[in-house]
């Protein structure tokens, strides 16, 4: 038997598979279903203080190679999130990661403080939504684009909560390793990488951008090489654990993410291509790979491509 157990900032997980933020995480019932389908940890849809309607449709486009989304961080606000996380914790033993976003370090700290009352195991800072705008976010700048901004948000949230903080980083930067270093120095307990890559689709039929927001975030198999490179670079720069996310659709993809340096692996778009069953399928494919390659544990695979 191979050992799939892993750890994130002291948080023990039965396997490295994590539901990535933004997928199916609106209510406790969806998160519980994903946990029952084989995710060792689930991440909520990102929330902020007031909530947002998100953008008009089309918000999601997808084919066999990728998904492009500009949902626009729709969420029902922090109070709703606290209810859903609290209910989830009563119903499930799985690890739950509360994802939050806001427009300033002070507001980030306020959401972190409030969400902590629901006691998620970890808090993830969505620092880098590549397509954020609208009410309250008119002058939104991507916090993940420079070390100083990342540091300010991480420091502010660390002061507001005792729950471990993971900083979610963007691939839309020249050197992601430096940015991970800034998060670590500011006190982050881990890194999630990557958020989606900026992209757009244009309809030749209508000669117009398709997403109502024009620009969106690209995920799925098309971005796996970008995710691997980012995780590899971050692993060279920091000691804190990494949730490697981006284009993982099979067990072999997940193994590659571990080899690049991830301690856990985020799954999102694979739920489109393979259904919610993706978690169980990927887990069993990882086991097969590990047995075939005489690899006893996930722990020994983490960062092995660096040796």
């Amino acid at each position: 038997m191979v050992n799939l157990q892993t750890q994130l900032a002291g948080c023990k997980m039965a396997s490295p598979l994590v539901l990535a933020s933004g997928f199916l995480g609106l209510d406790w019932a969806s998160l519980d279903r994903v946990a029952k389908s084989g995710a060792a940890a689930v991440t909520t849809k990102s929330c902020n203080l007031e909530g947002r309607d998100g953008y008009s449709n089309p918000t999601v486009l997808a084919n066999e190679n990728y998904m492009l989304n500009a949902i626009g961080l729709a969420n029902a606000g922090i109070e709703h999130e606290i209810d859903e996380i609290s209910t989830f914790k009563k119903k499930s033993q799985a690890v739950i990661i509360g994802s939050i976003f806001e427009s300033s370090p002070e507001k980030f700290a306020e959401v972190a403080k409030r969400i902590s009352t629901a006691k998620p195991h970890l808090i993830e800072l969505d620092l880098s939504c590549p397509h954020l705008g609208g009410k309250g976010f008119e002058n939104y700048k991507d916090f993940a684009s420079d070390p100083k901004s990342i540091s300010e948000v991480v420091k502010a949230t660390k002061k507001a909560t005792k729950i471990p903080i993971f900083a979610k980083l963007s691939p839309n930067v020249p050197n992601i390793g430096e940015l991970a270093k800034a998060a670590e120095s500011a006190g982050a307990n881990g890194i999630t990488a990557i958020n989606t890559a900026g992209g757009m689709l244009i309809s030749a039929d209508f000669q117009k951008p398709i997403l109502s927001n024009k620009y969106g975030g690209l995920s799925g198999p098309a971005i796996k090489p970008i995710a691997l490179k980012s995780v590899y670079q971050i692993y060279e720069s920091v000691k804190i654990p990494i949730i490697g996310t981006g284009g993982v659709a099979t067990g072999e993809d997940a193994i590659e993410m571990l080899l690049a340096g991830a301690a856990a692996v985020g799954i999102g778009t694979a739920t489109y291509h393979r259904g919610i069953e993706a978690f169980k399928l990927i887990e069993s494919e990882m086991q097969h790979w590990m047995e075939k390659n005489k690899s006893g544990s996930v722990k020994e695979l983490i960062g092995k491509a660096h040796e």
Partner: protein, 264 residues
């Protein structure tokens, strides 16, 4: 990959014919076809306006029937023959071909996928009877179309302006006492489907509903249309009623665009 998924990138479909069903419902027929089954939906995109799920009225050629009630459907209603809309799909589940005799219960323009079923059922030798429910006479649509597919049609209106005076569920209860049906298929307002599901359970008749929530992605990933963890867009819209009845949500509350609960 091992699981079937539907590409969601709109292609232009051209309106070839328009039929006016009543004071606010129109049917658009398109030049193109969309291989699909009764109960499935397409995402229809009007560039610069919005993109919405629309129940499929027919596959060959593709057609949709809709009421002009909101910003999107009013804009759609203003289009003419020769105009183009963006279409992707089909998405979601569909009504099964299992029973020999099926009772179809449609509320308002919920009759659309049921008529599609009646058309397919006739080819497969399944007998259908249809209950069409609405507020009053002027909201009844598709009675002639169901008859064309060989269905016996029963009408219920809240004000009794035509047919049975009362709800479609009350009429269904009456009919189910007189006749035996293998299954009940339903599409319409949630409270109608909720009460019909409870009736089906009481009478031990398998009941299928077309469950709906505010939809965004259409492909089961964004979570907006969660019905107690079931994604209406991918696990539904057609579900055997035991599934929604087991949730805390069905018949109790829906969710707005942000995900906030809104009580019925």
């Amino acid at each position: 990959m091992d699981k079937k998924f539907t590409v969601k990138i709109p292609k232009a479909f051209t309106i070839s014919r328009i039929e006016v069903e009543n004071y606010r419902v129109k049917t658009f027929y398109f030049t193109e076809s969309l291989p699909s089954q009764p109960g499935q939906f397409a995402m229809v995109w009007l560039p610069g306006v919005d993109e919405k799920p629309m129940s499929i009225n027919s596959a060959f050629p593709f057609s949709i029937s809709f009421a002009a009630v909101g910003t999107f459907s009013k804009a759609l209603s203003n289009l003419n023959v020769g105009d183009k809309v963006g279409v992707s799909g089909p998405f979601g589940t569909f009504f099964p071909y299992k029973g020999k005799k099926v009772l179809l219960v449609g509320g308002g323009y919920g009759v659309v996928p049921l008529r599609f079923f009646a058309e397919e059922a006739r080819r497969k030798g399944i007998v259908c009877e249809a209950i069409i429910g609405a507020k009053n006479k002027k909201d009844i649509i598709f009675d002639k179309r169901f008859e064309k597919e060989g269905c016996k049609v029963h009408i219920a209106t809240d004000d009794g302006s035509i047919g049975f005076k009362g709800t479609a569920v009350a009429l269904a209860e009456k009919l189910l006492k007189e006749e035996k049906f293998d299954e009940i298929f339903s599409c319409g307002p949630e409270m109608m489907m909720f009460h019909l599901s409870k009736l089906g359970k009481k009478l031990k008749i398998p009941t299928y509903v077309s469950a709906e929530r505010y939809m965004k992605c259409a492909i089961g990933i964004c979570g907006a249309c969660t019905l107690g963890g079931q994604m209406c867009c991918r696990d539904g819209t057609v579900m055997v009623s035991d599934i929604p009845l087991a949730t805390e949500d069905f018949g109790k509350f829906q969710r707005d665009k942000s995900g906030k609960k809104v009580k019925y």
